[in-house]
Amino acid sequence: MAKPMESYRWYELNVGCVIDEPGNSIVYKTGDWRIMRPQTDYSKCTKCGLCWLFCPDNAMKPNEQGFFAPDLDYCKGCGICAQECKFEAIQMVEDRK
């Protein structure tokens, strides 16, 4: 499925809704149900990578300076990264779209 779900008609679906195109989940931005998002205070961050390790959606990504920031296309705002950061560098803030 390479197009947005809501544009599919019933007869365009594969038999049994089989997905025959591996890796197509990339086209689905799963971050759209988020109401909170993590905000990192880089003055506290030690670049330890715990937030990256614990993020269940693989949404935390290192940037060029080695700090971690969420990819908002996929971050669901679960807050696990903020919980796991031992340096209280991550705050969950309201996500204004």
Binding site: M5, E6, W10, Y11, N14, V15, V18
Partner: protein, 387 residues
């Protein structure tokens, strides 16, 4: 074709063998046991080259069939009553994933009270699971239906699981004369299963993925179109079966219906007793017929309307007790058909033969010669209940 005397359960196992099933996964439950015992024997003796999976429950039995069918194997399972209930969750998955599994359901009453005897409460509780459903009245039909079931199920226009219903004991455990078709003929009629998608690491696919609200309705609609469309394929397959094997089947079977004003409507072996009653009634000058369905799902509405148009009275005999419903499952189908097509027909609803209770032909003679009377506040009459 050789004609042999054989227990119908064993004959069904032979039919699965003739269909060259590759994976059998089943859990023994009365009265289905003899089918899977015989299949286990055939596999153990090397007469049937298939994988026989011993599983710990019916839930696993059907789950294993789902997995095997998804991997591209021709799969077989069989169960009864509580076993079907334990499979219930997976019934939907098999049909939604469009896997052409064939199951023989040996019809049996549901507990409680515990009963191993025949009625149709098991199949009726699973009637809307998206499976194609066939009914059989005798051993020959059961054998032929298993072979046809694979042809129907695996047709690229269908790709749905098929349930072949046979009555527990009254059919499963009787010895009947059965003609087995030659293997070469079955092979020509039923080519190897050629799946559309398979679980194959060389070409990975995802089956059973998450369906968001944006897509679920479309998915169900597509499935509904598939089962509705399968009726034409069922007819086609039955016709071709007749051409190849010389035994002709129809999705609706009738008996003495020409010029009849009234008719019985029933499923399964009870029809044999109804036919005996019809013969007796005919001698007394009463022109009465019988309608029975070989195909119950998809419901053959258009064909039934054509038949019901010419009738004044229809006596629906149901072998299941609905709990708290307006009417019995079979009757609901017929009455909505009559209502939506403005058929002027008097519909009567009887429940008979629950949990293996005998209904002798005399009961049907009584039904046919007396006016319909409801049972208290219920819309149906329960035959033989002591009150």
């Amino acid at each position: 074709m050789k004609r042999v005397g054989i227990e119908v359960s064993a004959a069904i196992a032979e039919a699965a063998k003739l269909a060259r099933v590759e994976v059998i996964s089943a859990y023994p439950i009365t009265p289905q046991t003899h089918i899977v015992e015989r299949l286990a024997e055939l596999v153990a003796d090397g007469e049937l080259e298939a994988v026989y999976m011993n599983v710990e429950s019916e839930h696993s039995a059907l789950s294993a069939c789902v997995g095997a069918a998804a991997a591209g194997a021709r799969t077989f399972t069989s169960t009864s009553a509580q076993g079907l209930e334990l499979m219930h969750e997976i019934l939907f998955i098999a049909s939604s994933l469009r896997l052409p599994i064939v199951m023989v359901l040996v019809n049996r009453a549901l507990s409680a009270p515990l009963s191993i005897w025949c009625d149709h409460s098991d199949v009726m509780a699973a009637r809307d699971c998206g499976w194609i459903m066939l009914f059989c009245e005798n051993g020959q039909e059961a054998v032929d239906s298993v072979i046809m079931a694979y042809r129907i199920a695996e047709d690229r226009r269908v790709l749905l699981p098929v349930m072949v219903n046979i009555d527990g004991f009254t059919l499963s455990h009787v010895i009947e004369p059965v003609e087995f078709p030659e293997q070469e003929l079955v092979d020509s009629f039923l080519p190897p299963y050629n799946p559309l998608f398979t679980l194959n690491p060389e070409r990975p696919v995802t089956m059973g993925a998450y369906g968001m609200p944006e897509i679920y309705t479309e998915a169900k609609y597509a499935q509904e179109m598939a089962i509705k469309g399968s009726k034409a394929v069922v007819k086609e397959v039955m016709e071709e079966f007749g051409r190849v094997f010389g035994r002709r089947y129809n999705i609706i079977e009738t008996y003495n219906l020409d010029g009849a004003e009234s008719a019985f409507f029933a499923l399964g072996t009870i029809n044999e007793n109804i036919k005996t009653a019809i013969d007796a009634l005919r001698e007394k000058g009463k022109n009465i017929g019988l309608i029975s369905l070989r195909l119950f799902r998809p419901f053959p509405s258009e064909e039934l309307i054509e038949i019901l148009k010419n009738l004044k009275r229809l006596m629906v005999i149901e072998r299941a007790m609905p709990q708290g419903a307006e009417n019995t499952p079979l009757f609901n189908e017929i009455s909505s058909l009559a209502f939506h097509n403005r058929l002027e027909i008097q519909l009567e609803n009887y429940i008979a033969g629950l949990g293996g209770r005998d209904v002798d032909p005399q009961e049907f003679i009584t039904i046919a010669t007396n006016p319909f009377q409801k049972d208290g506040k219920m819309n149906y009459k329960v035959i033989g209940v002591r009150g």
